[in-house]
């Protein structure tokens, strides 16, 4: 485990807002805020899981950090990497060098290029072929894997090839975007093991997932994502018992919705980014909401070693 307090975060995202300009009908524009005042930080050696339902803007967070948002996106707020505030130009130079992405599926590999070659392009300095072979050997990929095309890989091989691209790059921050959907139990276990290794070797790992159980198995801290912002950052160890140690009503509800914890669903659904409620984003569904919750958006507060965005949390 990390010694968080002693080191500085490798990545610190503060008040990140991402919105898209859309043309609705004719020339009428509307601005969709898909991520609003989001703050997370990741320390070297830890895995931070960003957990949220699909459509909550998790993947956009990854793209925003890498500077790969589409042209019609407008961002504000700050992204600080290793103490340095990132400009788009710096993001371009850090991509693939200091910050690596592990994508969801084999579809993220060029279908017409042999995988060995694609992994080698991720190498920064040194003998690319040798480094690629070493990493393939480490992940127990047969030597002839490098000659295969992406469609020839089995699911498990594809997963290891994708993780290889991050490992060969020597990046200090690894962002894994939904790396486990559709995998069986053993494959999930194996994949999570790779992330743990990456973190234990000193890298910061951001694990983006919709599956809180998967996240809890490997992450050190969990950032809970709701309607484009983080409502709570908690230690993985806070997820225990009835959820008494958790800070935000949404996190508690998520925890209690798990089959082994009572299987209680939360009524309602996550608001769409064009119809966000006034005040606290969770307030329309919140069991403990009071009239003041609807008046203004709660600020982030530090509560018991985590952060929370709720005026009632203590």
């Amino acid at each position: 485990m990390r010694t968080q307090s002693a080191t500085a975060p490798i990545l610190e995202v503060q008040d990140l807002c991402v919105s898209f300009v859309q043309y609705t009908s004719g020339l009428r524009q509307r601005c969709l805020e898909v991520i609003s005042s989001l703050s997370v930080s990741i320390y070297p050696g830890e895995i931070l899981a960003v957990v949220g339902a699909s459509g909550s803007g998790k993947s956009l967070l990854a793209h925003a950090v890498l500077g790969l948002l589409p042209g019609n996106a407008v961002t504000s707020g700050s992204i600080v990497f290793a103490g340095q505030k990132l400009t788009p130009k710096q993001q371009a130079s850090l991509r693939g060098r200091e910050i690596a992405l592990i994508p969801q599926s084999v579809n993220y590999l060029d279908p017409l290029l042999r995988v060995g070659k694609q992994v080698r392009t991720a190498v920064n300095g040194g003998n690319a072929a040798r480094i690629q072979r070493e990493v393939f050997a480490r992940y127990k990929l047969p030597p002839d894997t490098e000659r295969l095309f992406p469609f020839q890989l089995s699911g498990g091989m594809a997963r290891r090839v994708l993780v290889s691209t991050a490992l060969v790059s020597g990046a200090r921050l690894v962002i894994a975007d939904e790396p486990t959907p559709g995998l069986d139990e053993a494959a999930i276990e194996e994949t999570l093991g790779y992330f743990r290794e990456l973190a234990d070797e000193g890298r910061g790992v951001m694990l983006i997932t919709h599956d809180i159980e998967t996240a809890l198995r490997v992450a050190d801290r969990i950032a809970v994502f709701y309607a484009g912002t983080t409502v709570e950052t908690a230690l993985a160890t806070d997820f225990t018992g009835e959820g008494e140690a958790l800070r935000h009503p949404y996190t508690k509800a998520l925890w209690r919705a798990l089959p082994q914890n009572g299987f209680e669903p939360i009524p309602g659904s996550q608001p769409q980014s064009h119809a966000l409620p006034a005040g606290c984003l969770f307030q329309p569904r919140c069991p403990v909401a009071t009239p003041e919750c609807a008046s203004s958006r709660p600020e982030v507060r530090d509560v018991r070693g985590g952060t929370v965005r709720c005026i009632h949390a203590s």
């Binding site: 890498l66 693939g96 599926s105 993220y108 060029d110 991720a122 020839q152």
Partner: protein, 330 residues
Amino acid sequence: MDVRGFGFFLLRKLLRMATLLIALSVLSFWLVSCSPLDPVQAYVGADMTRVSPEQREAIAEYWGLNQPPLMRFFHWGSAVLHGDLGTSMMFRRPVAEVIGERFLASLALMSAAWLFSGVLGFTLGVIAGMKHGTWADRFIKWYCFTLASTPAFWLGLLLLMVFAVWLGWFPVGLGVPAGKLAGEVTIANRIYHLILPALTLSILGVANVALHTRQKLVDVLASDYVLFARARGEAGLLLFWRHGLRNVALPAVTIQFASFGELVGGTVLAEQVFSYPGLGQAAVAAGLRGDVPLLLGIVLFTALFVFVGNLAADIIYRLVDPRMRKGETA
């Protein structure tokens, strides 16, 4: 590569080609027999008044025109199966010989147009795709849409007026200089006469491949694998070279091979406008003068030509694309 699978593929294609040719000959023969043109009159031409009914009868007898159409079709069909396409009424030479000679002239024209339009179209498509949404993209798109809606003969006439009549840079027509003996015609003469018709066909052929390449490149650049390549730090020309070109070139080549049909169609019109003595011009003449054996021969031959183009496109895909080449198993 899976040899057995490829064998089956070829067999299927050959079967399809055979049925295509049979259906096409039946259809063409039927259309020609419905034609109001009297082949004897078309053959004799303006001298018709001086031809007695007996002579008419003799000519019809000679060409076998007095037999019922079905009989004629079977006669013609069995001769074709034996490799004899018959004799052209216009040229009084074997159809195969006429087609061979005319096709060589057309081939020069078509291959020049094919290559030039392919290279130029691909380049324009790549530029438009890379500069997606900019003025360069809009200009190229506008240019292609304009061309796509331009008739070949009209463009041919336009080029003829500007470059041959007004500027006098190029000859007005024909495949070789008029009045020169066949032995004296040089390669340079032939190329000189080829330029305008080839240009007409190339300018028109550009639109198809350029628009396809543009769209394909836009899709590729928006794909997950390009996003991931960018996340790995690739950018600019390297990114295009590694992922763009590879994924865009194959469809472009395929489209270019599959466009043989349009190429042949365009050639018929361009040759007519430029009086270029190629296969297309022979086809028009054969149609107008009721030269049934030549017309049918040309129909079958061009069908075969277009089919071979499409087949080439299919085969190239199977040979080049690893997903087709290696099957779906790891």
